[in-house]
Symmetry: C2
Subunit: 215 residues, 2 copies
């Protein structure tokens, strides 16, 4: 267990489940597809789902926040990005000891609009996070398309990871109860690729789709 | 398309994808397992994953926020709860038209600690959301366990749902490009139940586990 960078990141409840090192934070960010981005607007917290991609200690974010905050963002805005993966339900003999296996990263930093000359790179990073290899299979963005796309650049200042693994931890007195206990694992599962109705050229799904399905 | 209750909930980008009616909001909340709860603390937004359960226009939230904010919560705190389901990757012929199929609800309200006499009900609602039927299979909470558990009560004041479905919408000029386009669907998949190492009584997984697996 490492130490939090500041009180902002310190995990208050069940601190044994927390780590603060960059490698652990990066591993959670790299495993997911959607993050929840929180920021203060008109004195209230607003939380918006965004797709993202990580490049070192920078996270590029794509979604409606960027256009909503276009003006605010000129000087940057403090955001909290939280990414959560659910790994299973933990089913105990007692209601009280039910739990969830999960991995969650909470990172803090200042988000700014990416510079125009960084935008193509940022979009490629986001694309690679969602569908590795896809970027090189498709038509790249034109200068006009790049201009129409807002991307945020979040430099991670600090963060934490909280995770739970393993089976239920029941009270000794409950171990003999006639109720099944254990873990029901869950994952993200990919289905059969559905070809677009207007697919003029009869093609099998490209390599990136197959790679993603097997991930 | 219904109307937002106030500017707080108005979806600014791609407003055609937005609805504001209670039934749509409830449907998204009911389909997921984890929400991301944002609130302002020390002038910054903090976003924490929490499990939850819905009962009418009330959402009960369970997780570390409750204990962290125990004192603050005496008078209630404004929160934003966002719940997102990813339904698939939308793979277009151009990088620009890539998208994601998803459903996302953003709700606002004031969160308070549940009253002691409401806590058992709240926990049952949360349990039913995660594993329908499980509550009646297991040992119920004791008064001491109830006391150790913090639950937030969020009365939904307003909210919005944003969703995308369907295949890629490519530029006409790109339709003939020799690249596969379509949707790669994704869902949450349940694995084989793993019995606890200390399961003394040899039992099959209880009905609630089987129901959850088939959901």
């Amino acid at each position: 267990m490492s130490a939090p960078a500041s009180e902002l990141s310190r995990v208050k409840r069940l601190p044994d489940r927390a780590t603060y090192d960059a490698a652990s934070i990066h591993a959670v960010l790299d495993a997911a597809m959607v993050g929840h981005v929180g920021f203060v607007t008109s004195g209230r917290a607003l939380v918006i789902p965004m797709i993202y991609g990580r490049d070192g200690d920078v996270v590029y974010l794509h979604g409606s926040v960027a256009s909503r905050l276009q003006r605010t963002l000129a000087n940057g805005i403090d955001v909290c990005l939280t990414v959560t993966l659910v790994d299973g339900l933990v089913l105990a003999r007692s209601a009280f000891h039910h739990s969830m296996n999960y991995r969650s990263a909470v990172v803090f930093g200042r988000a700014t609009l990416v510079r125009p000359d960084e935008k193509a790179h940022a979009l490629r990073v986001i694309s690679e996070q969602l569908a590795p290899g896809r970027w090189d299979e498709v038509r790249p963005p034109t200068p006009i398309e790049l201009k129409q796309t807002s991307v945020l650049r979040l430099a991670i200042e600090e963060g934490s990871v909280k995770a739970r693994t393993g089976g239920p931890i029941d009270d000794e007195d409950d171990l003999g109860l006639p109720v099944w206990a254990g873990v029901l694992p869950c994952t993200t599962a990919w289905g059969e690729p559905l070809a677009a109705a207007d697919l003029e050229v009869v093609l099998p799904p490209s390599p990136s789709i197959l790679v993603r399905r097997l991930s």
